[in-house]
């Protein structure tokens, strides 16, 4: 390599954890999106000649007890997991951010009215809540996603509220009031942008948790129903065959691991990224 080229390489920015995390998530999302096009087989086609066969050239991750290609099912299962993860957190944010903003900025009565029910919801262990809602969302990925969102939106409210309280004390908020800004304007234009960072960090971490939650729900049989694949369901089904056919759990397990890792890395690096973006403009 020439001196110029190698020195150019040396000055390439080092990938930050956030960038790596985002890349992972993006990669998985693309995989999930393109699942119907890139998967070698149909997710439901069974090949009884190749039941429980180990990884081979034909089946990169082997087949399950119905002769279905594990890789294919994992790719479709990834769809379910990502939809559950991103969808639930998005739902939690849509409800949680405005509530937390109002509670943290207005304080007093509004704060109490919002936070008491939120505290009650938060008092329930997540699994218990989800099981209780199981009757509602059985068979429906959409409703399951909303249910997971419901379990976690109090956390978003809490974090948003805490950050909003701090920002609302700043002089520039008082200044905006002095200039005649309405409460809505202040909340939307001043408090929210300055308080959103910890919420986004929390949200990325929650996406990882939501994937695990979906896996857990499906594992105990309350999530999506067969034959729809989900990573959690695959883990559950594969459990019985783990001794003889470990590939049944390795593939979905790996998928969950990589997804959670990606979300967490993204969340960890987010604060530095967001602050640098604002400060670096010289």
């Amino acid at each position: 390599m020439s001196v110029a080229a190698s020195s150019r390489l040396r000055t390439l920015p080092k990938p930050t954890p956030a960038a790596i995390g985002a890349a992972i998530v993006l990669f998985l999302a693309v995989l999930a999106l393109l699942a119907p096009y890139i998967s070698p087989y149909d997710s439901e086609s069974m090949d009884f000649n190749a039941v429980l066969s180990p990884p081979s050239l034909a089946h990169l991750f082997g087949t399950d007890n119905f002769g279905r290609d594990v890789l294919t099912r994992a790719l479709f299962g990834l769809r379910v997991s990502l939809i559950a993860a991103i969808g639930s957190v998005a739902a939690a944010m849509v409800v949680g951010v405005p509530l937390g903003l109002m509670a943290g900025y207005r304080r007093g009565f509004v704060d109490a009215v919002i936070m008491r029910p939120v505290d009650v919801i938060m008092a329930f262990p997540a699994i218990v809540l989800v099981v209780a809602l199981a009757g509602v969302f059985r068979q429906s990925l959409g409703l399951m996603t909303l249910a997971i969102g419901f379990v976690y939106f109090p956390i978003i409210v809490r974090v948003m509220r805490g950050a909003a309280i701090e920002v609302s004390d700043a002089l520039f908020v008082e200044g905006a009031r002095a200039r005649g800004a309405s409460h809505v304007r202040i909340m939307a234009r001043h408090v929210l942008p300055n308080a959103i960072t910890p919420v986004l960090v929390q949200a990325s971490a929650l996406m990882g948790v939501a994937i695990l939650m979906e896996a857990a729900i499906s594992f105990i049989g309350l999530g999506v129903q067969p034959p729809t694949p989900s990573l959690g369901l695959m883990l559950s089904d594969g459990r019985s065959y783990m001794g003889d056919a470990p590939w049944l759990v390795i593939c979905p397990g790996l998928g969950i691991l990589v997804a959670v890792l990606g979300f967490n890395l993204m969340g960890d690096g987010l604060p530095r990224l967001l602050d640098a973006a604002n400060r670096r403009r010289k």
Binding site: A170, L171, F172, E174, G175, A176, R177, A178, R179, G180, A181, S182, R185, R189, H190, P193, N194, N278, R279, R281, K282
Partner: protein, 352 residues
């Protein structure tokens, strides 16, 4: 808005009081702190009115109430004769346009995530002044008026120095063409040379627009240079009030005298201060009875702990709240020393 009361009094405080509750829990024990205690003030249009005091004096709380940012516990603030607590929505918006505030801390008074231009433009957006194109132009004009290049409109606060941020704060206050500006320690966080620039700027703007400025500060040098009239505050009350030059020539209240003599003098040839300040300002949680200054006062009498002196001036514009100051202003002599020519050297320009 109704017409102004006579004498061109644009801003008035009547019996203005503000209390805070601090502490307090399930077990009880909440304390009430009286930060501002029954203040009466009249500020005239075009006047630069300084409010001076040390920490715990209540000057910041007073400023916030005058600007309409804090509701008084009792008493009222009157703008152009109207009680600002009784304004309807339209009048309130109008009030917000005409009354502005500049803060002390240039580092938290600007939104770190918004560009400078957007922040200066905000009051115009809120009050829908002009077309969007006209607003952009006004932002550029305002930046230039405060001595900054219009290109700064795209910058973020983190890129600016303290002095520049303070100037942006002034530009933001000017955007809606206010009549009154409450400036809360606007130059305290700045270096001397930067402070000079900002003070000159404020002076120019005041002259051009006949602005009324309520200038809250603890810096007596700035007060002497910049203001027309001064109110000295101690523990929530005004203890002395007078036009600037006469006040510095003839401070009457013992606290004012103690305060003035405590300023380290830049003329090293002058002898040590006549009255070494004693003690500490009392905690607002436990104000002394009677005259709140009496425990530290070099000329206190027994009577001083019994009754709180009223702020009086006997028809003259020099108001003092001290039973030892006669109606003609005759001061109680300080034990053992001749009356000092405090600050006369300053006035005559004998500084190096």
């Amino acid at each position: 808005m109704s017409s102004m009361p006579p004498d061109d009094v644009i801003l008035q405080a009547q019996g203005l009081t503000r209390q805070f509750r601090s502490g307090g829990s399930l077990i009880g024990g909440a304390h009430t702190v009286t930060a501002v205690d029954g203040i009466d003030l009249e500020i005239r249009r075009g006047q630069i009115f300084a409010v001076v005091g040390e920490s715990g004096s209540g000057k910041t709380t007073l400023g916030r109430m005058l600007a309409g940012l804090l509701r008084p516990t009792s008493g009222g603030v009157f703008y152009r004769g109207r009680d600002i607590a009784a304004l309807d929505r339209r009048e309130r918006a109008d009030f917000r346009r005409r009354m502005q505030i500049v803060f002390q801390d240039p580092y938290s008074s600007l939104d770190p995530r918004m560009r400078i231009g957007a922040q200066i433009r905000e009051p115009l957006d809120i009050h829908r002044i002009g077309t969007p194109a006209e607003r952009r132009k006004r932002v550029d004009e305002l930046l230039e008026r405060v001595g900054m290049a219009p290109s700064y409109a795209n910058a973020f606060p983190a890129e600016l120095s303290g002095g520049q941020r303070q100037r942006v704060g002034i530009a933001m206050a000017l955007a809606s063409s206010p009549e009154v500006i409450v400036a809360d320690e606007p130059t305290s966080a700045l270096d001397v040379s930067v402070q000079a620039q900002v003070l000159n700027l404020l002076a120019e703007l005041q002259r051009e627009n006949n602005l009324t400025i309520v200038f809250i500060t603890h810096d007596l040098g700035v007060v002497q240079h910049f203001s027309d009239r001064v109110a000295v505050m101690y523990l929530g009350r005004i203890v002395e009030e007078m036009d600037t030059a006469p006040l510095f020539a003839d401070p009457r209240h013992p606290y004012t005298r103690m305060l003035f003599s405590a300023i380290p003098d830049r003329d090293p040839s002058r002898a040590a201060p006549l009255q070494m300040p004693t003690g500490e300002p009392p905690s607002p949680l436990a104000p002394p009875p009677g005259c709140t200054f009496h425990p530290r006062c070099p000329v206190a009498l027994d009577a001083c702990s019994a009754v709180q002196p009223a702020l009086v001036g006997a028809g003259n514009r020099h108001l003092t709240a001290c039973i030892r100051v006669g109606p003609d202003g005759a001061r109680a002599p300080v034990a053992g020393a001749a009356p000092s020519p405090i600050r006369e050297a300053t006035l005559s320009g004998a500084l190096p």
